[in-house]
Subunit: 356 residues, 2 copies
């Protein structure tokens, strides 16, 4: 074949990658033809395409996405803003986004933790980002500022597992209020009397909706209003809240936590910190469906997000927005699924009740 370059395919000499012209020359066609061969809906005969692709393969040619982006002024890259990964569901979310976007020919650029919204916007503009996904695992004020800037700059934005009441941005969420109500039904139905809620930062939509769903349903049952403890969405936050709650004389016997990491913190506060038995002395329900909720040491009853469905929906909304259709800003809500484990007594006593 060609002259042998050390460790190189066909003729990729020294850091020089084949261009469409190289392929054109080899296939004895024009550069236009090469371009068409790699463009899905281009006007080209099957035989021509086949010939070009053969030559391309021989040279190890891949279209240069940079050059393509320059002419089309779209990068086919989507940015993801997801710093502060404290919630263990996000690795899976990230992986799922990556997979789904790839199947639509998109790549993911990871936006680093920036100081302010301008830095983020600069990054997006520089790389001609086609769209942005912001997950709840990011500082609220910063997320909002970034979303606002991007919208002003005409970059489509979709929020994942979060929404802003005062800013019209497309979003995909769990039906958090319904999840909270479900927790209330279970805990009340199991005969509990003294309820508590352990939440996260009070301005986040997950905190607000999960609490509201829980408290509203309790009120509908005529139960006493739940105690509330809040803190960051971390193990320590849940542990601290649990320690405070269990130290009270009117110690709660049923706790709903705004997420699983908080719940595991509360669980440890009960068992290790206060020597309580779960669910004999206290029932605890979490939210999210984090992997470690299933671990034998935790065995946490929780309301699991349908993460795959949520990601798919987010991708769909984003791609549609990129294609120019203005997305509605009404939050899309996807239900959560109750996962019954052993950290909470169930109505009907399907788990060892207090009589033990």
């Amino acid at each position: 074949m060609a002259k042998a370059g050390p460790g190189a395919k066909a003729n990729a000499p020294r850091g020089k990658r084949a261009t469409s012209y190289d392929v054109a020359r080899l296939a004895a066609v024009s550069q236009s033809a090469v371009s068409r061969a790699f463009t899905p809906d281009a006007y080209i005969s099957p035989s021509m395409r086949k010939k070009v692709l053969a030559a391309a393969r021989q040279l190890g040619y891949q279209p240069n996405a940079i050059a393509r982006g320059l002419t089309t002024s779209r990068s086919r890259v989507v940015a993801l803003f997801m710093p502060n990964i404290g919630n263990p569901i996000y690795p899976f979310v990230l992986q799922t986004f990556s997979h789904r976007l790839r199947s639509h020919g998109r790549q993911i650029l990871l936006l680093p933790l920036v100081e302010n919204a301008n830095e983020a916007l600069a990054c997006m503009l520089q790389y001609q980002i086609d769209g942005l996904v912001i997950t709840a695992a990011s500082p609220l004020a910063l997320s909002k500022a970034i979303a606002r800037k991007c919208l002003a700059a005409g970059i489509p934005v979709v929020l994942f597992n979060r929404y802003f009441a005062d800013l019209k941005v497309a979003s995909v969420n769990c039906d958090n209020a319904r999840g909270g109500a479900l927790a209330a039904e279970i805990l009340h139905g199991a005969g509990h009397q003294r309820f508590a809620f352990i939440g996260g930062p009070e301005e986040t939509s997950t905190h607000i909706d999960r609490y509201r769903g829980f408290a509203d349903r309790l009120r509908a049952f005529g139960a006493a209003a739940p105690l509330i403890e809040t803190g960051p969405y971390t193990y320590d936050g849940g542990h601290g809240a649990g320690m405070r709650l269990f130290a009270r004389r009117d110690r709660p016997d049923a706790i709903f936590c705004a997420n699983d990491v908080l719940a595991i913190g509360a669980l440890d506060a009960a068992r290790v910190g206060h020597g309580l038995q779960v669910p004999r002395d206290v029932s605890i329900i979490g939210f999210d469906g984090a992997p470690m909720a299933a671990w034998a040491g935790n065995d946490l009853t929780t309301i699991a997000l349908r993460l795959v469905a949520m990601v798919e929906s987010t991708v769909e909304v984003l791609l549609r927005a990129i294609d120019g259709q203005r997305a509605g800003s009404e939050p899309i809500r996807i239900p959560g699924d109750l996962v019954i484990r052993k950290s909470a007594r169930m109505p009907g006593g399907s788990l060892p009740a207090a009589s033990t």
Copy 2:
């Protein structure tokens, strides 16, 4: 100022972003001057730079990284291959990489989980990736194939927390053998007699080196060879291994696990599965320094990776390779730090010993 466009800065009319020519016109200078103003080491007077930057700010101008990439033929983007995020240290690793690379003006493109190495290479070539980091959180065979292809294509590669004995690739690792030896010293020094090792996939360098360091040191002490159980690097892997070990008549009283997730699985197998007390009945030591090792319910003694140092070293090696200096393929080893908690008895009885 300029005519008011709805929701637009100065004059960013309809999805049209300002170019260097626009800035040049406004500042009454040439396009070259604009380019120089945004190039760190360019030959330009301070006054000129100031004037250009002022005009750029007024237009909301950001250099188009795509166009820049086309002329410089480097994208300033680094790819990260890290699918299968099962180990909870990786979210932090990802965040740290992102942060560190950004401080060097680099962005991260997340490589999705691909079917084969060719897909990955295609992605790298299309986007003119400057370099690649492969973490241990990715399938071994695929990682190796990708690394091989990239090297052949002239793309610098650095492995994080992994190395290949039979392929010359730069890598940054924990000093795993030393960590294993440390675990052996502690467990032997605390008076344990029946040792076991719970590992991951047998061909991974972390498994091999951590086991070897452990077993070699035990042998040096004249102790019996440890029992070995292996499985995937998951909670279930550790739990299953633990259940098997504790069911034996010669049940081990000291277990070293190749990582923290395995160790937590083993811990739960001991406590929940077999009703054993830790560390009265068995000492367990993990590896990595995962966040949940610190949780009260686990309280796991472990050997913590110096993740920040490892990431910084990886970035340094990678950037040097991108700048053309061939990196050595000898693994860089960074020591791990013993974190003493309550899952293992310590030499000298600094924790409640078997006498309880």
